[in-house]
Symmetry: none
Subunit: 236 residues, 4 copies
């Protein structure tokens, strides 16, 4: 509530600066390129100061992932408010997700990092909470669109299937496809010529198979996409 003092502002800025530099290290040299000495050097403070902000290296990784997740959550919220029917709004979310992956391919890596190794064991409950709340926010936004579709009778979910189950499916195929795209050099050799297009196609197939109307055959996909580009993603 209180206005932050200049001192507090400086401290807050430094925290952002640390993350910025850490991000550069990971992006340019991988996880092993992240190194507390170099961070301290580059923010022109001491290592001790860095440790005042982040209790250990892993906390930095988590914080980076949280930044990414928050950035995406904001985008998702914008996309979910796309003017149009529920099917168009879910499409906007999917499209925003693809856009995010293509525009910030590095951000993807930080979420991946969360999923490996012993990151979790070393971090504070507080940081973990942040991650969870981000996940929940994203889930809530997308599930919200599904619920709206049900409310407007654009969609009828089968018995035993929750809105979250459907979101889980979309999440899974997106995450899986992006993981493969990000790491498999040989996708083309394997016969998948345009994986991004294939992903989009499969998502529409899933939505169609739930009879989420209008079906993908019943509206002009491309013109909707153009509108999303303009109205959500601010692309020309």
């Amino acid at each position: 509530m209180s206005t932050p003092t200049p001192k507090q502002l400086q401290i807050q800025n430094r925290e952002l600066k640390i993350l910025e530099i850490a991000r550069e290290h990971v992006v340019s040299e991988g996880y092993h390129g992240l190194n507390m000495d170099r961070i301290a050097e580059e923010i022109k403070s001491s290592k001790g100061t860095v440790y005042n902000h982040f209790g250990c290296k892993e906390e930095i990784i988590i914080a980076l992932a949280v930044q990414t997740m928050e950035k995406r959550a904001v985008l998702f919220q914008d996309a979910a408010q796309f003017k149009g029917g529920s099917r168009q709004r879910i499409l906007a979310v999917g499209h925003a997700n693809s856009y995010f992956f293509q525009k910030f391919p590095d951000h993807f890596r930080f979420e991946q990092m969360l999923r490996i190794d012993s990151i979790w064991e070393k971090t504070s409950a507080k940081r973990r909470m942040l991650v969870k709340s981000c996940e929940m926010k994203c889930m809530a936004v997308v599930a919200g669109v599904v619920r709206d579709a049900i409310a407007t009778e654009d969609l009828v979910l089968p018995e035993g299937t929750s809105p979250e189950d459907l979101v889980f499916g979309l999440w899974s195929i997106s995450l899986g496809a992006q993981t493969i795209m990000a790491s498999s050099e040989s996708l083309t050799d394997l016969g998948v010529k345009n994986p991004a297009l294939a992903l989009r196609f499969h998502i529409q197939k899933i939505l169609d198979s739930f009879h989420w109307t209008p079906l993908s055959t019943e509206f002009d996909y491309d013109s909707i996409e153009d509108r999303i580009d303009r109205e959500v993603l601010n692309l020309s």
Copy 2:
């Protein structure tokens, strides 16, 4: 052609032993828990001997992943030969994949590791080739089932979609779902009560949306699954 000498056998066994122990380390303590000193200690040989088998730590990781991939490839081949129609055969592959994930949840991690950081840079071209050939084998097996379905007119793919594109979709959703299941503790809190079931459901939805006959509504899913358990996975 020649019979391996006892000596050669011993060496070969040690290689397997190294991998076995390395696997335990990674499973129990993550990538950073893998440590050449301890491996040497536990196989009761010297570090030099370990290095005679694997030129560096990363080669061990790759070898573990290849073991996993080969194991899965064999399973996929068996599943693809399931006695029945094409839809039942693709179902068998999907079911085998789920089974593999549930039965050997750790194996999954080694494939994940391939996708990170500097593993690739340090390994020999020969090892990388092995990985690629495993990927191709799996892809070929599943795409083969798709091709058979097309040949028997159980399935008509839309213009511009290759069998591999379809496999990519199935691969993506499986990998994504498994990734989330393996790492997100809070899936239940997010509202996804039974993710494994949801995955299975989505896969059927995708296949249905391609009109791969018989549709999931047209056959008795549970009894087929029982047969797969018995005939492919050798479960009682």
Copy 3:
């Protein structure tokens, strides 16, 4: 300008201590006897601390050589200021060189080490600069005496010969003789009964052959040497 804090003093002292111990190792066990672990152990600090002072093993070697070279440079400067004619001053330098070799036979080895293998490749430009500046200082001091001799017409160099060329000759014969003395056990067997005397004799011959007056036959060598011992080397 500022007075060093006790802390800084301690650090500076440790640097000297490291060099001292490293020197002992090299002297008693050769280059391969120099080992970072043992140094750390013996200065009762950690390896990391040693590496805070010297970025790699080779830097220590260079630093040892620089110590030696600086020590000699100071001695040369003192000797070059010996009260007397130019011929006596150059004699003082030569005598100081012999003295240095006999008094600190080990120091000689560190300069030799500079001349081998991969030392240079791993060291910082800054350290290399130090070495070069030491070399130049020594060269300048001795060439300065030659120039004074020319100015006072004690010496006329032949056309095409620079003062530095003459110094190079003296340097070569001294270095070569000392190298042989330091390494050839069998010099006596080869028929060289008193190599140190022979070196001194040859140096005088060279100077005589340039007609650097007074010639060695024209002054009392032994009494000059006594004076050098007393006035430059502080020997009784």
Copy 4:
């Protein structure tokens, strides 16, 4: 006395092959590039076989140095038999030495290696004997020329100076100059523009100062050098 069996020949050849390869390693990658594994690999035998020839790595170094020394000894013997007066013959030896250094700059390194580190301590008395006998042969050849000069009254050595003392002087200045040339990148910066010429000049000065007739001013240096090139070094 007996003719070597084919087997023995093969073994002897292998010994030469080992040395040849070891030499290449040292030349191209320095002392640390010498490695028993690689030698074994490149002679297409096993490490054990290499060890049958040379009891340890250091023995190989010594053997390489001995090869070099023998090569030079032969050259010196040829040079000492140059047709001409004693002064011309000693000049031929000096010239041969320079030639050897310029033509085979790498050979020089092996003799240097003998002078450092702990090579001697690990080698057999037999190998050391070989080194010593090579040294003696070289010394004897050159001292022989000096003795001939004395016999023919081209030279009168001062009281207390042996022929070997004179050779020691020549040896020292040559070795020293070559050492500096081989290792000091900054010789030009130090003001020594043409060290090889300076070395030659100093050697003549030394010989002149002993009144070894004819003095360098009394004969045509260049035409003699041409003859040496042709008659001793077989240069066109």
